[in-house]
């Protein structure tokens, strides 16, 4: 009973995150949606290693690595947003259509 509930929650979070990633235009809002999708994957990994007989500490190791990579990603992304805002005075993706050195 618990496993389908957690897998369903992860699926719902993934869908909500995907919707936000597609629909929002602010870069920060898109990053939030991306983090929701990452969290849903972590939920899947923990639920499957807990309930299907594998070593559950293995799932924890994998999710901790996810968290580390996600933290690095957030740091880089947020600093990029600040730099983009300084150059363009806008962080709306539909206005950021130019690549220039």
């Amino acid at each position: 009973m618990t496993l389908p509930l957690v897998l369903g929650l992860a699926t719902a979070l993934f869908g909500i995150g995907l919707y936000g990633l597609l629909q929002r235009r602010s870069l920060v809002a898109m990053l939030i949606a991306l983090e929701l999708m990452l969290a849903s994957i972590s939920l899947n990994v923990v639920a499957l290693t807990t309930f299907t007989g594998h070593d559950p500490s293995m799932g924890q190791v994998v999710v901790l690595i996810f968290v580390g990579v996600a933290a690095a990603e957030v740091a880089i992304a947020l600093s990029l947003f600040v730099a983009i805002h300084r150059a363009e005075h806008d962080i709306d993706v539909e206005h950021l259509s130019e690549l220039r050195g």
């Binding site: 719902a12 809002a29 929701l36 799932g59 924890q60 901790l64 933290a71 740091a75």
Partner: protein
């Protein structure tokens, strides 16, 4: 129903509500608060699954660090000052349809799979996780450390304001 079962249900509801707030509201500050709420819910789900160390890590990293960093980025980039431009209806509908389709497909796959649900067992304590990290997975652990250092240095380099007269790197 056991206490852990209730905690799981409430946490799942909190996570869903937070995710909806994080994506659905228009004000970016409310989005960040919803995101923190969703991460609290996910941490509660981890706790009720027995992974209390992961629950603590999620609260520390996501609610504590990532949400605060996002607030800083919002304060530095003033998205609320921008005039609101309405989104085209077909784009919203397309995004919703695609997201719902992907979620439905994933759920269909999950429903078809025959999970052999075992009794939760094994040792998933913080001590066991730490031991595995520093024995079997020490290379991954070190690589994540290096990645974090490089990412922090890169973030400082990218966000650093080029001072006049000193040139930019």
């Amino acid at each position: 129903m056991t206490v852990a079962g209730w905690i799981l249900l409430v946490s799942a509801a909190v996570a869903l509500l937070g995710a909806l707030l994080a994506v659905g509201l228009r004000n970016i500050f409310h989005n960040i608060l919803g995101f923190a709420l969703a991460m609290l819910g996910v941490a509660g789900v981890f706790g009720s699954l027995g992974s209390d160390f992961l629950a603590a890590v999620f609260v520390l990293v996501y609610v504590g660090a990532v949400a605060i960093a996002m607030v800083y980025a919002v304060m530095l980039s003033h998205p609320l000052d921008q005039p609101h431009r309405p989104r085209k209806g077909w784009k919203i509908a397309g995004a919703a349809a695609l997201a719902a389709g992907v979620a439905a497909a994933l759920w269909g796959v999950l429903r078809q799979a025959r999970w052999l649900e075992a009794v939760p067992g094994g040792d998933n304590s913080a001590a066991r996780t730490g031991t595995r990290f520093l024995t079997d997975y020490v290379l991954a652990f070190e690589l994540v450390s290096v990645l974090l250092v490089v990412a922090m240095m890169g973030a400082v380099m990218v966000a650093r304001r080029a001072r006049p007269g000193r040139g930019s790197w």
